[in-house]
Symmetry: C2
Subunit: 271 residues, 2 copies
């Protein structure tokens, strides 16, 4: 998966809760590749003061047919006339500056006071330059990557795109300039003064409500003619649900070992 | 909740799938206010080409003590030294240009071909100017709004913030300049040529895997002394799970009535 860790930049240096931050490539890629929706931000035009954010499917991977030093990149796809596709086409080198974020919420941490309320979460951010993938082999490889990101094995278990469909779909590759992850997985933290306050501890429940993305029974389409839900779908639902619940419940009861230099407070993440 | 709908801008005009788009204020506010994490994008400095995205808790509300024509705004909070807090302070008028996005994934739509794969989803976007809330009454009102956004009634059922905690927390108010929602809730759509192709329909399963945010059994903290999980937490878990599952399963089987002018294709959302 390319480099083992990303270099910090002024924009991706952690100022607070350094113990939650990571530049580790595997951690970052894993969060992106297991999150169902990525948020992609860019400036639509130099005269517009506001960035926009589009929810998209994003996957990080290393194209095996590329230069050996090319490393991992983030792939997105969309309709050929979409705004992001056109801007990426119009900015061939170095590409359109974008930021992509992926966030999983794993639990609501309810402390004795709102100030110490927080989430268990896993979030990742990358910044880089987006450009259209021109190589048809890399494009086809990326479409398989993005399709199997939704449900593994789906590409092999559906009809391949035809020439018209490929022409109508653009694939974008983001060369990663900077990337970080931030995670929190623990019981809520409270202050000593509250733990000693009988009025507070006897009246306020403290704990974590675990939360995860839960997949339900697959619902066949009106035009479906295959009676049995195929293994790649059924297994995905079963495994995802079991793993997601297990992680969220584990995080809800996890007491991290405090290290020197860790921040004592634990309010909402914001930077 | 202020205006009944937001005016389109060049940046928020729908180019494709107009039938999925909405400027309706109630629809937009509802998506923001029921999504556990919002993604907030801004430019950290004029010399940095890349936007950043922070995952935060966001809520839209109308401060009852404000000017009668002030309308709804989006509120965020964070540690006082956070980057977004400092930038909002440094840009008092009209404020820091930001974009906020909230997305709920409701189902994976598996069509006969990857090109027609899609999600059921509800997403909302707003753009506006962020500035610090200076009025202590509005700040306290917003902190209650943000705390109860996580679990209704939590503010009344936990210790109120003290002066030091309030001083360490900044609240940001985003005056909304533009906002949109985009939603999809339907069975997968396939092309006539595939529906007539026996090889395809006899081998590819088509349908929707519903997905929702599922809350587990609350896990008491090691320092918790209240034996029974309180009603505001237990009710939240029960109601959220029932409503979320019901919506996702409904969307998975929903056959929309096609209107003139609707797009025929149905690939991934991207603009």
């Amino acid at each position: 998966m390319g480099d083992e860790s990303y270099a910090p930049t002024p924009s991706t240096t952690f100022n607070r809760h350094k113990e939650r931050g990571s530049y580790d490539a595997e951690t970052i890629h894993n969060i992106f590749n297991t999150t169902s929706v990525a948020h992609v931000s860019f400036l639509p035009s130099p005269s517009d003061p506001f960035p926009v954010i589009l929810p998209m499917i994003g996957q990080i991977g290393t194209y095996p047919g590329g230069d050996s030093d090319a490393g991992a990149a983030c792939y997105l796809h969309g309709y050929v006339t979409g705004r992001l596709m056109k801007l990426s086409k119009d900015n061939p080198s170095p590409g359109l500056p974008v930021c992509v974020s992926a966030t999983k919420v794993d639990g609501y941490k309810l402390a004795l006071t709102p100030f110490h309320h927080s989430y268990n979460y896993r979030s990742a951010l990358l910044q880089g330059h987006a450009s259209l993938v021109a190589d048809p082999n890399e494009k086809m490889w990326a479409l398989e990557l993005l399709t199997d990101a939704v449900i593994p094995g789906r590409w092999a278990n559906s009809r391949r795109p035809d020439a018209a469909e490929l022409a109508a779909t653009s694939v974008i590759k983001i060369r990663i300039a900077a990337a970080t992850a931030k995670t929190s997985a623990s019981v809520p933290v409270d202050e000593r003064k509250d733990l000693r306050n009988q009025d507070v501890v006897s009246s306020v429940w403290a704990g974590v409500v675990p939360v995860w993305e839960c997949f339900g029974e697959p619902v066949p389409a009106p035009h479906n003619r295959v009676v049995k839900v195929p293994a790649h779908v059924a297994e995905f639902v079963k495994n995802e649900n079991a793993n997601a619940e297990e992680y969220a419940v584990w995080a809800a009861g996890h007491v991290p070992v405090k290290k020197k230099g860790d921040d004592d407070d634990d309010e909402e993440e914001e930077d």
